[in-house]
Structures are given as structure tokens and as C-alpha cells.
């Protein structure tokens, strides 16, 4: 941020009164321009047939991570709920008709100022199709998940949480949980 979005004066970086952090502040009109984390919200669309659970993944047609696989998800918009955001992103990216269930995972990614939320969902039919942000959309059983080609750690962790819960449920030893994880930036090698 270089200029005040209210009066076009160049902003300065300073700690406002009664604050403890540096902010972009307008020296002319006094507006404090706070910057806060964004929420990325998506779904885990599941189809179960003949005892096999398959999850719908999208191959990204956009950067970052073009060509890698992801769950349908995207930035939450103003004037919608997290559930509406999950449903909208699933429709936009995968053309999929889903019934949304409970919140399943919440993953902090503080170094990119994001919080990712994923909701469990059931596919209502198999009429899915790639949206403009996807190259293709495909269902995968656990053994076929392209683990090395998953776009983001929040997605691979969420898929692992899902299959772990499903294994427990299959053994009659559990139910779906709400899974929380903080993903910090990997330390760079010193060499």
C-alpha cells in the first residue's frame, strides 16, 4: 500500500495511539488502513458407492500451483457465510451439486495471512464438470489420490484427516471430528 484509498495522500507506516503494531496511516485524513488475514473456504465432496469412498478433486487451471490437484475452495466474499462460500466455490470450480455438512478442518497458514476452512459434503449426482479455474475434475479413491501432486498442504492434511476418520468410522471406533492444524513456513536450510 502506497497511497491512502480515501484521499490519495502517500501513507506512512507508524504505530497508532492505543495500538501496538505498525499500520499504514494517512497523515492527511488520519485513516488507519488495517490489513487482516483472509479466509479460504472449500468443501470435501464425497461419493460412496459399493463401499468405496471417492473424493472430488480439481486440477488447477490458474496460478499458483497450476496443474496441481486441490479440493474446491477459494477466498470467502463479503456478504456470504462460510457455508455459502464453500457451496459457491464447489459450484464454480467443479460444477458440482453437493449437500454441505459440518465444518471438518480449520488450518492456519500465518505466513501467507490465511485461514483455510473445509466442510464435509456429499455429491448429490455425478454431473460435475470443470469450471473456468479448473483443467479437469475427477473423483479419487484413497489409494488413487495423487499425493505428490496436491496443490497445497492444507488440502493434503484435510484429505489425510478425512481418510483417518473414515477408517475409524469403518471400525466402529469413532465419528467425524473437527480437525485443527497450524502450518508454519518451513525453516530454510542454512546451506
Amino acid at each position: 500500500m502506497k497511497f491512502c484509498s480515501e484521499c490519495a495522500t502517500p501513507v506512512v507506516v507508524q504505530i497508532p495511539a492505543d495500538d501496538t503494531r505498525e499500520r499504514f496511516v494517512c497523515p492527511a485524513c488520519g485513516t488507519i488502513h488495517y490489513q487482516n488475514p483472509k479466509m479460504v473456504v472449500g468443501s470435501i465432496p464425497v461419493w460412496e458407492q459399493d463401499g468405496v469412498v471417492r473424493v472430488l478433486l480439481c486440477k488447477r487451471a490458474i496460478e499458483p500451483r497450476y496443474g496441481y490437484w486441490t479440493l474446491p475452495a477459494g477466498f470467502m466474499e463479503n456478504n456470504e457465510t462460510t457455508g455459502q462460500a464453500a457451496q459457491r466455490e464447489t459450484e464454480e470450480e467443479a460444477g458440482a451439486n453437493i449437500q454441505l455438512h459440518e465444518l471438518f478442518s480449520i488450518l492456519n497458514v500465518p505466513h501467507v495471512h490465511q485461514v483455510h476452512l473445509f466442510y464435509r459434503a456429499t455429491l448429490l449426482d455425478l454431473d460435475y464438470k470443470a469450471g473456468v479455474e479448473s483443467l479437469e475434475v475427477q473423483m479419487f479413491a484413497e489409494k488413487d489420490i495423487p499425493w505428490d501432486d496436491i496443490a497445497f498442504p492444507t488440502v493434503s492434511h484435510t484429505l489425510k484427516f478425512l481418510f483417518a476418520d473414515l477408517a475409524k468410522i469403518r471400525d466402529g471406533a469413532g465419528s467425524y471430528g473437527v480437525h485443527a492444524l497450524d502450518i508454519f513456513k518451513p525453516m530454510r536450510s542454512a546451506t
Copy 2:
């Protein structure tokens, strides 16, 4: 938003290519200024003694809702996790030392572009004290909660979820859940 924060040109409102929503767009440098919901994160600090559970509330020293009671909470900052945000706000507003537990409630407030998250917490001692944004800080048993003077619906719903879970746990019939609620703007009366 009136001016581009990158180049100070007056922005226009338009739907960018491959988008479906109106955004503030700079006609000079092309920057799209997305606006997204913010997260308000807090804790539910609890102290149990002689079988009575008390919750720590703060009387607000700032607008909006000056003089009303709230759980310690505030806007999540960049570079922190939701758990760190809950712990920081509890320290800042109530001077309270807590052990943070699981996520307890997630409440959408789409008409103000906010998502509120509250984490369960245990007070580690009674050395709490009002921070600069609080007039006073006090513990309340369920029967003493000032229900008519709670600052925000997300706080009163979270407190009700808490006491309902505690009643179930006392009866040996449950455990803490993760509670989700969407709070839409009340319809205005037609008269």
C-alpha cells in the same frame, strides 16, 4: 475506497474479466482491490470452583457497544494463528492467563462481513485485570450473566452453547461440541 492504494488514481467499480462480482478496479494500473470478510477471534475463559463454573467477561471501554459485556475477542492480525489471536486478545483485554483449548463456536455475521471464532479456555489464576479496551473484568456464574447487557449476539449465543454443553456434561450425556451459527441481519419492520 476512492483511490487506488498503489498509484492514487480514482478507482472505478466494475466486474473484472473471469469474475462475477463488482470490485474496485484501478483504470490506470489495473490493480483489483478485493475486499473480504474479517475474522474476530476470542476465548471463553472459565474458572471452576466448588462445582460452580464462572466465565470471565469484559465491560467494553470502546465503541461499538461501550459499557456492554463481551468475551475477550478482537480482529485477528496478519502473521498469527487463530489460537494465537484468541490468546493475545484475552491478554490485552482482560490481562488473563489462560490455557487455550479447542475451537468451540464459529458464527457468521455476513451483513458486517465478519466471522467470529471462540475457543474454550481455562483461567490459570485470578490475576486478571482490565486492559485499555475494558472498563472492568469480572467472572460470572450462569445465573448472574448480564444477558440484557451482552455486547454482541455472537457472544450471547456462544455463552448459551457453553452452558448447554456444561449441563449435558454434568448429566453425563455429552461432551463439548463445535457450534456453528449464521446470524443474519434482523428484518426491519414494514411499519
